[in-house]
């Protein structure tokens, strides 16, 4: 969505300018670079951490939270403007599992004690949460969870392992689904726990991803004791918490992801305009390349418009749901195709392994021109866009159920 199409009222323009000014002043070159060097969901952790502290210092640490917990109390329109301006400014993506996933659940299911203890540390950027869902052998099928939590006095004793826990190496807390009973309905008997990463018996094993980066981890739990006071919601009822959390994982960020898609398309166009076609013209003049780019740009226009309609409907209170999932399937295909096109654009320079040049504080110079640094790792890492959060097959299964059953 172009913010221009919102025809803003005077006070909304004022708000927009305030937000723009904030980004103008606070996004340092390092922070901008951290955003540009992001291949997957989150920016290099340290810079995400710094950014969250800056946001917090301005009272915008978690604008969407209720005011009582430190939220900014934006109106739906202001929230929309905030998201659009954020997309426009392109700050580093913080490790959002605490602020955007755990926190809302703690607000909804947590005890006063839990709220008092956890929420301030999250918004302040002092606590960082990992998400302990998947287990080896249980990917998209959460019903098959096996990590056991056995009640013992005031504690649960945890044994088992979690996998694909993004950025767990930086987390000091983890919210996780554990098996406290085996029942007829497999979703029952799951309990939602809030665990300290420094608990004795927790061991983190890094998993290097296809782009050569340390995104994922496997976490082993051996007789890890977790106080029952750290249970969120009822025992065996963790599924209710997980379902509630899902709302925030999906519904949120429609505007952001549409804007990211547009940024990606513009990025590819820029790379193509720099690259040579080998015959004296720019790659952008190559009929085959421009054709592929054009088709994707048109797809982005369509996805962007569809997103607009859902966002406007959402701000006026009706839930997207099914249509959002439809749009999501298409948007991820578009995004992956764009990343592939970017890699195609840089030709032979797609090949060098440039990991050391991809830190905010780089350990090596770029091999080749500057614009060849990111396409390959982004292409590789974004293969995960159709794996994390459900494969296209899973989404098509859901959508087919809605369509046919």
């Amino acid at each position: 969505m172009d913010i221009e199409t919102l025809n803003l009222a005077a006070d909304e323009i004022e708000f927009r300018d305030k937000v723009r000014a904030f980004y103008q002043e606070n996004l340092t070159p390092e922070l901008r670079r951290a955003a540009q060097l992001t291949t997957w969901t989150f920016a290099e952790f340290e810079y995400g951490r710094q950014w969250q502290k800056i946001l917090y210092a301005h009272g915008w640490g978690a604008p969407h939270w209720p005011v009582e917990y430190g939220g900014a109390g934006f109106t739906p329109r202001q929230r929309l403007i905030w998201e659009l301006e954020t997309a426009r400014a392109h700050p580093p993506e913080i490790m959002r599992m605490g602020r955007d996933y755990a926190a809302p659940c703690i607000m909804h299911f947590g005890t006063d004690e839990q709220k008092r203890f956890f929420l301030p540390k999250i918004i302040a950027g002092d606590d960082w949460w990992a998400q302990g869902y998947s287990e080896p052998g249980a990917g998209s099928d959460l019903g098959a969870l096996r990590l056991s939590a056995v009640p013992d006095g005031d504690d649960y004793v945890l044994n088992g392992s979690k996998i694909w826990t993004t950025f767990a190496q930086y987390a000091n807390r983890i919210f996780m689904l554990t098996r406290t009973a085996t029942m007829e309905k497999k979703q029952l008997g799951i309990t939602f726990l809030l665990v300290d990463m420094d608990s004795p018996g927790i061991e983190v094993r890094p998993i290097i991803n296809i782009a050569g980066e340390h995104e994922f981890n496997e976490i082993f739990f051996t007789d890890v004791r977790v106080p029952k006071a750290r249970r969120l919601g009822e025992e065996h009822q963790g599924w209710a918490v997980a379902r509630y959390l899902l709302l925030f994982e999906h519904g949120a960020g429609l505007a952001r992801s549409a804007a990211e898609l547009k940024r990606r398309a513009a990025w590819v166009r820029e790379i193509a305009s720099i690259e040579s076609d080998g015959f004296g013209a720019s790659l952008l003049d190559d009929p085959d390349f421009s054709r592929k780019l054009g088709l994707l740009e048109i797809g982005v226009e369509a996805a962007d418009f569809a997103a607009d309609q859902l966002i406007l409907a959402a701000t006026s209170g009706s839930a997207p749901g099914y249509e959002a999932e439809l749009l999501n399937v298409r948007s991820r295909e578009l995004d992956q195709s764009l990343t592939e096109l970017a890699m195609e654009a840089i030709g032979y320079y797609a090949a060098p392994d440039q990991r050391d040049a991809r830190y905010v504080d780089p350990k090596a110079n770029v091999i080749g021109p500057a614009h060849v640094l990111m396409p390959t790792p982004i292409f590789l890492a974004q293969r995960g866009a159709t794996i994390a959060g459900g494969t296209p097959d899973i989404h098509r299964n859901n959508l087919a159920r809605h369509l046919l059953d």
């Binding site: 421009s290 054709r291 054009g294 088709l295 740009e297 048109i298 797809g299 226009e301 369509a302 996805a303 418009f305 569809a306 309609q309 859902l310 406007l312 409907a313 997207p320 249509e323 439809l326 749009l327 399937v329 298409r330 097959d393 098509r396 299964n397 959508l399 087919a400 369509l403 046919l404 059953d405």
Partner: protein, 375 residues
């Protein structure tokens, strides 16, 4: 497609859908000829005032927006109702609205609105493919009038039209943008020779030969040799209208397919139980949503700046061609042998959708146009 329709728009959609479902559904068609059906549908649309939607109130129109035309075209596509709406109201009406003088408007538009007159726009030629500047038909000035000589190809709506708009070259070489003029010619003008035929999708069209067809200079619309801007604007509107019809048609096809998969059985269970088909139906729905979105977006751009208008119209055609061809082919495939027959409407939707691909330029032509306008 989620969209914030106004109350009037929702009412119009409902009315047209009911009309076509009740009075023009496919099952009844064997009883009547394509022409008779088209004539009757045309009368109903006139009665509903739908023919006046895009026109100014001073000529009896209802001052509608581009979106209103999209609604009508989508309903025609959904109902698979062949009418001259595109040629008469969108093309003819568009050329009148944006190009004609007061007098011509006052004489012609009320005839359109009442359903009394139909119009066709002859722009394509055998060699022109999709380039509206590629005009060989010549108009040579002789005293107070022009003489038209040449041929036009596949002019939709011509056999029933009273007035023809004709693009002709008054100056310059074949493909030059300069030198293209526009004339309005009575369909019964001496020297005008029509070969009328039905198209594979049951629309009416003709190839037209002009032998010294004489028209007065007042018959020229807009400035001499500078009609291309007007023509391109109206073709942009027609592109979006054609896409809207395609969107209506693929919406109907998707509905047919879901219905078919629920009821038809194979190997002891309904088709809707086979995962491969389930996923295909989802992909068809995704394609429909996409085509629908880009069409609405393009419609919103039609009255904006000309570059963005043309850019979005071309984006729209490019996208809708792909999505509608995918859905139409999948729909026939999914229905199997019965989808290959003249007895089921699926095959008729298929032909219409596949021929709409070409109308006013195919996906390739419009993709290049989109790219040129994106620089």
């Amino acid at each position: 497609m989620r969209y914030a329709w106004t109350e009037e728009q929702s009412l119009l959609r409902a009315t047209l859908e009911r009309l076509f479902a009740e009075r023009f559904n496919f099952a009844d068609r064997t009883r009547t000829t394509a022409q008779a059906l088209s004539t009757e549908a045309w009368r109903s649309l006139a009665e509903l005032g739908v023919l006046g939607l895009p026109f100014a109130s001073e000529y009896g129109g209802s001052e509608g927006e581009a979106i209103d035309v999209v609604i009508v075209m989508e309903a025609l596509g959904w109902g698979l109702v062949a009418t001259p709406y595109l040629s008469t109201v969108v093309l003819g009406g568009g050329l009148l609205r944006h190009g004609a003088d007061q007098d011509l408007k006052a004489r012609t538009i009320p005839q359109i609105i009442s359903g009394a007159a139909q119009i066709a726009f002859a722009f394509a030629e055998q060699e022109s493919r999709f380039n509206p500047a590629n005009v060989a038909l010549s108009a040579s000035q002789e005293g107070g009038h022009f003489k038209l000589n040449g041929r036009k190809a596949v002019v939709y709506g011509a056999p029933e039209a009273q007035h023809l708009f004709v693009s002709a070259r008054t100056d310059g070489a074949r493909m030059e943008r300069e030198g293209v003029s526009l004339f309005i010619v009575p369909a019964d003008a001496p020297g005008l020779e029509m070969r009328a035929y039905l198209t594979a999708d049951r629309h009416s069209a003709a190839d037209i030969a002009f032998h010294d067809v004489a028209v007065p200079s007042e018959a020229m619309i807009g400035p001499q040799g500078r009609a291309l801007g007007l023509i391109e604007r109206v073709l942009d509107e027609a592109v979006v209208a054609a896409c809207a019809e395609a969107v209506g048609a693929i919406g109907a096809l998707n509905a047919r397919c879901v219905q078919h998969c629920r009821t038809r059985e194979a190997f002891g269970q309904p088709l809707a139980k086979f995962q491969a088909l389930r996923h295909r139906l989802v992909d068809m729905r995704v394609a429909y949503e996409q085509a629908s979105a880009i069409t609405l977006k393009a419609a919103q751009s039609l009255d904006g700046p000309s570059k963005q208008r043309s850019r979005m119209a071309s984006a729209c055609k490019t996208q809708v061609c792909q999505d509608s061809a995918f859905i139409a082919k999948a729909a026939v495939q999914l229905h199997g042998a019965i989808g290959m027959t003249d007895e089921l409407d699926v095959g008729h939707y298929f032909r219409r959708v596949m021929l709409l691909q070409h109308l006013f330029g195919g996906a390739d032509f419009h993709l290049r146009r989109f790219l040129d306008l994106s620089r």
